[in-house]
Symmetry: C2
Subunit: 105 residues, 2 copies
DNA sequence: TCGTTCCGTTCGTCATCGCTTACCGTAAGT
DNA sequence: ACTTACGGTAAGCGATGACGAACGGAACGA
């Protein structure tokens, strides 16, 4: 979907974030991911499904296994979303700072 | 806390993200935020508590009201977290691309 | 063809969390 | 001092979702 908010709700889960972080180091199969986490393999599979329909990961058949890897488009969408965010927020800060010139960190 | 994962779990909620987006345009009081959202004021207060202990917002007493604004440190922490993420992921992609030179989008 | 391995899916259970209602404390105005 | 406005907190409820167990299917190797 390459939507920023959807990606955030998908990553707003500890297990899913852990999976995504492991995938950031390179493609992995489902069993390999589950082996390094304190959850069962079906749980990992479900989380991968969520991450996939959020546009954050891609899957590829490799024999009996199935390799998952992070989707560059999803990362780009997130980056774009946050960039708009930062510019907005920082602009607001600048405007507020010009009206209250003393307080700042 | 300025922790990336905590901030993500905090922002991984539609209502909290909506609150944070509204705060990105400038400081607001609790009642003002609740007025623009389909939730009650206590709900907004609870969400603000979560956002605050995640290091994403700051609060300031203003008479009987209480002004909330986004915390620049929290945004910076998020930015740093994602930056590490992107570099990691892109490096992995590059390495994978050198081994499989044909497939790419 | 048979057995093994790996994965996706369904189902049921249990915890987590977001939301509302009601109540209380605090700061200004009169 | 009384009243009003604003916001935080407690309790309870309802719903979402994460998890494991069990089952079924597809891809290799013998």
């Amino acid at each position: 979907m390459t939507n920023g908010t959807t990606a955030l709700t998908a990553l707003g889960e500890r297990t899913r974030l852990a999976i995504f972080e492991r995938l950031a180091d390179g493609p992995l199969a489902v069993g390999e991911i589950a082996a390094g986490l304190p959850v069962s393999r079906p749980a990992v599979s479900q989380h991968l499904k969520v991450l996939k329909q959020a546009g954050l990961v891609r899957d590829e058949a490799a024999g009996t296994r199935r390799l998952y890897s992070v989707d560059p488009a999803g990362l780009a969408a997130l980056e774009a979303y946050f960039e708009r965010f930062w510019t907005n927020a920082l602009t607001s800060f600048k405007d507020a700072a010009e009206q209250h010139p003393q307080e700042q960190t």
